[in-house]
Subunit: 394 residues, 2 copies
Amino acid sequence: MIVKQYQEMLGAKSVIREMFAYGTSRAKEIGYDNVFDYSLGNPSVTVPEAFTWAMTDMLQKTEPAKLHGYSPSLGIDNVREAVAASLRQRFEIDYIKDHIFMTSGAASSLAHAFRAVTEPGDTILTFAPYFPEYGPYVNLTGARLKVVPPDLQGFQVDFDKFHAMLTKDVTAVLLNTPNNPSGMVYSEKTMQKIARMLTEKEKEFGHEIYLISDEPYREIVFDQTEVPYPAAIYDRTITCYSFSKSLSLPGERIGYVAVSPKCEKAKLIIDICGQISRGIGHNCPSSIIQMAVAEVLDLTADISIYETNRNLLYEKLISLGFSCIKPQGTFYMFPKSPERDAVAFCRKAMEYDLLLVPGDTFGCPGYFRIAYCVDTQKIIRSFTAFEQLALYYQ
Amino acid sequence: MIVKQYQEMLGAKSVIREMFAYGTSRAKEIGYDNVFDYSLGNPSVTVPEAFTWAMTDMLQKTEPAKLHGYSPSLGIDNVREAVAASLRQRFEIDYIKDHIFMTSGAASSLAHAFRAVTEPGDTILTFAPYFPEYGPYVNLTGARLKVVPPDLQGFQVDFDKFHAMLTKDVTAVLLNTPNNPSGMVYSEKTMQKIARMLTEKEKEFGHEIYLISDEPYREIVFDQTEVPYPAAIYDRTITCYSFSKSLSLPGERIGYVAVSPKCEKAKLIIDICGQISRGIGHNCPSSIIQMAVAEVLDLTADISIYETNRNLLYEKLISLGFSCIKPQGTFYMFPKSPERDAVAFCRKAMEYDLLLVPGDTFGCPGYFRIAYCVDTQKIIRSFTAFEQLALYYQ
């Protein structure tokens, strides 16, 4: 009685995974340093030392039964309070502990948010380009993910298409700002317009529409770019956060769901997350990791390295004739493919040991993603490969 | 669009939770030391020091990007290999890495196992007395949990009732040995008979029936009791393990699924767990916790404390006239209630500040559970209360 749905998923090819497998085998042939693997969003910058100190200190001083004991199902109380306090201070919104649910990272934050506010059969809308895992994340809840085609002018939102797709079956809109893969931040204007449209459609349909805001890259922005905070703009916002990228802790699986206190059902949604947890076997992130993260809530890994990488890579690509909107944050860049078929382009790039991911994967054909969370020296060393690739397309 | 199913769950009363809330408020009145809270299975014995050393050592010496980096979706390779090696050695079964999927504890192990081998609408059978969270764990997958009534003679299996309930809609049988709440181990004879019955019914129905074996208490046994290993007896066994109890790490959420190599679809089931993971937002336990646990796989916390507790408490209860099957393991005892209504009995016990859980919660009315994973001195101090309670029922 092996479930067919999952068997089919196993059969489906993942371009990123293929790329990664190729990179690994190629590295064995020509050496790790000579493969320019830009395929994965795995943070390359070191976790802040304060996190390591906090962990070490707790292991030495805290009573083990307290340190490793069961966490309450919504998360450890003073950790939730610390997260609420940090959000209160940063965004001037009255979060308290009751609005916070601790999760084991972004995937888990989203798994709870989707289940809390959608029934099987409902539609969740998202905007291309988008993180491809949203597909399985949503589809396995029983809801359906539909993707609004991209705004190719500035990677904001194509409002005509959004309006047309915002039909009665939509109960949640999922967005990701700063955005993977475009590296763009949704502007205040974009966010305001989304909020207005949702408010209008809520009235028209007579049901709630939630905004699920996936913000793992919130802190990774450059040139003092302001990131409008969706929960400050639309009341029914469920903020899904992960510390994976900001603290370079992707393996520790730690994040949270924060429901805006201006959403009248905020506390109920958080309590429901605790029930969803039982069904999906979540039952809290690691207790020591919860406590350690609470000690470094307002720190980040050294983001300036990503900014250096962006500058180097962006200038090089532009000088080689690539067309690209300059990313405002994250550690991704999303240039236009010099040939229409980005899959063919990425295959060609592999010949120069450049591993890039075609935009098709992100619902945006004709573009490709560069994940530049790699060593700066490697970026510089990859320039020759980019030059040769550009030459091929001249 | 708040999902009704979860709202109803919130409304349902949990006896254990009520008990716990009462205990907390009562402790404020009369002091923590004077409330004899036997309601929760939260390990009281300290984690082995080797675990703390392993964590501290890794934090000092391992490169952060490796220590806190993304784990592959099935778990860190050498951790999976270490788990397989440990199982190979202990049980003489040819597990390899491919048969192991790392999970964030028992709830997560079960969440994956249920989804891998049952479709919505299927039935999963379990045996009373049983861990009450199995209800929501199973029901939220879309499958149904049905409970075979208890064998009150020895808390093994009532085979007549099991046989009658083993109908064509059953695709998995869930068991828990050593058992919460009875403290009993399913004997070799019991396990052999279950295996024979499943094999026979598989032929009759023409479909597979999986045995999902929940074994968080595997190491917590007394008097050199042998625990028959279900996967050694029935080929289609999915072993669900957690280190919460054996290593006293319940908050760290770490465990694994191991599929018997004798099960022809073992590797497929493990691969499918990786897909299920995407849908339920699991995406691996903490990487540092995976690595630390791999260093102490064959250690346990000091189990002898639980044995001391069992001996003290069992002898006291018997001397007071309680009727109880002597538990072979876990840190639970499941005596008969002196009045038919165990809920009324547990209410009465609360008057003596004894927090006990009625057997009704475990599908076994007329009994009550004592979770004796508490400080030994507290057990001794609680004797007066038990004496007074016994006196009341004389």
